[in-house]
Symmetry: C2
Subunit: 351 residues, 2 copies
Amino acid sequence: MSKYWSKLAARLEPYVPGEQLKDKKYIKLNTNENPYPPSPRVIEAIKAAADSRLKLYPDPLAADLKETLAEYYGVKSSQVFTGNGSDEVLAFCFMAFFNSDEEALFPDITYSFYPVYANIFNTKYREVPLNDDFSIPVEKFYNSEGGVIIPNPNAPTARALSHDDIEKIIINNRDKVVIIDEAYVDFGADSVVDLIGKYDNLLVVQTMSKSRCLAGLRIGWAMGQEELIEGLTRIKDCINSYTLDRLALAGAEEAIKEDEYFQATRKKIMTTRERIIPELEKLGFKVIPSKSNFIFISHVKVKAEKIFLRLKEEGVLVRYFNKPRIDNYLRVSIGTDLEMDTMIKKLEQIL
Amino acid sequence: MSKYWSKLAARLEPYVPGEQLKDKKYIKLNTNENPYPPSPRVIEAIKAAADSRLKLYPDPLAADLKETLAEYYGVKSSQVFTGNGSDEVLAFCFMAFFNSDEEALFPDITYSFYPVYANIFNTKYREVPLNDDFSIPVEKFYNSEGGVIIPNPNAPTARALSHDDIEKIIINNRDKVVIIDEAYVDFGADSVVDLIGKYDNLLVVQTMSKSRCLAGLRIGWAMGQEELIEGLTRIKDCINSYTLDRLALAGAEEAIKEDEYFQATRKKIMTTRERIIPELEKLGFKVIPSKSNFIFISHVKVKAEKIFLRLKEEGVLVRYFNKPRIDNYLRVSIGTDLEMDTMIKKLEQIL
């Protein structure tokens, strides 16, 4: 606490990202990064952009990247907003669409940044409890006072909502914005990008940090009809004209154009996921159905925190949340086959 | 206007950056970029960082870059905060240190992003009128209710404050934060980084977009005692854990280490500036004394807006602000010698 802090700075409770330990070499299954490197074409595009043009500001509109994303997803480029990771895009969403006197809704177990955004931007909100199996109680998101934000698949549970259920939530909130955070959608869930033309209250947020193997490049984007995109742009233009540097813009554009690599990589992750789930079940784990690049698991006998600490000792980092309802679960990112086999061997020893 | 926008989004008046025209090849003297490319060593460092590690998140603490900056500027690494351009750092400053019920002070003619930040983050503020010669009325910044922010040199006037005058402002605001925005300090003004150890209410903000030739990389930072840095970190960690991507971190670190290139480049700019000022005066321009990589000029006979439009037709972009007190001035970035000579030839034709 400092006398120099604003009232805002003084009351904040910042988000804590997953550990980035450097004391030894870990198998890193704790921040949902992709275990595969970005496509060589992306690396080449970045290197080609690293030249004297770095003396000039990047395009504040990110027009080329928006055009590329729009073409790929079948929307107009005026229906795309880009930002410094989906975290920045989500932060701007809270500022652009939610209010301090109308209750926005999100699940009680979800991306733990949402309540942090709500707190800093003074959003009124209510956390809707998930069902006991961590599925989303769809009807409880109808007729929100101030809007809705839901990740699909949800994090850290990995459970997905059906396309129909999301459409129901959109239809039953026609005067408020429904934000679907599709950070993990490419690992088996249904995107609702196809509904953007149909509903002007739908905003879909995506990222290159997971399925595009580019967590280190900080690229996120939102897609929705023009009024929503303009709302986000108004916020951005009051904070930072250029949030994506020239190298990130170049790499991101190529990552979208390089579809073959993307398809192959996400399929590898899904294949590994499906292969290891029965192995974990054999070891006594309950595994929540996953459509993501991570799984949410709980052991019938051994406490999650104990397994978390023992795995860390053994050089395997997974994520443990000391929070009500999920404090006996572990979130485990899907790594390479070798990484997952090593983890399973370690688990066999521990259990 | 949209029914989906928050009250905040609806009331905003976004900042408008300098034009980035693409219809033809321009001599770009309108956004204060550096006319010289970044050092080849910086380009190499970026290329070396463009590899499979991009699949991993960047260091959220930017520890290596902070260490490099701290060593260069003679502060501790705990006294450095890094962000996505100084714009993002400045935005976080408004959130971290200013309040809605205590009046912060900045000049009436200054970086036009300040009132935009104040508006979006609900800061109470008062614009202190500059003297008629655009110098800063130092004593009018004493005993502020809510803090002070001043660019040194000021923009778009290019005038610098003396080290002594800044120290007086700091001393006369001991209970409030004094932010000195040193975006342009490397072109001849005195930095007050040396006062950080002495005053815990001083925060100095700098950027790589001007003197380090890296506008395209989006690197800014703040230096101050630990309490102020912690205030900024609290804000950042509520919005975006990782604001600098891996390539920007690598390039920025090398840009600080490569001091020889930096010294040579900034001297070239200052030499060109001093050379062309008498030439402009010969053409009938009044030139405000400049310690920056731009000059603020006004013609005795021809209106600034007319010169601005004619130069644009001739392929030379400068910045014109249609605002009270400065609507007969042009802000002209210092380009290469060739660019400046071309501009002067065009001006001779126009006048």
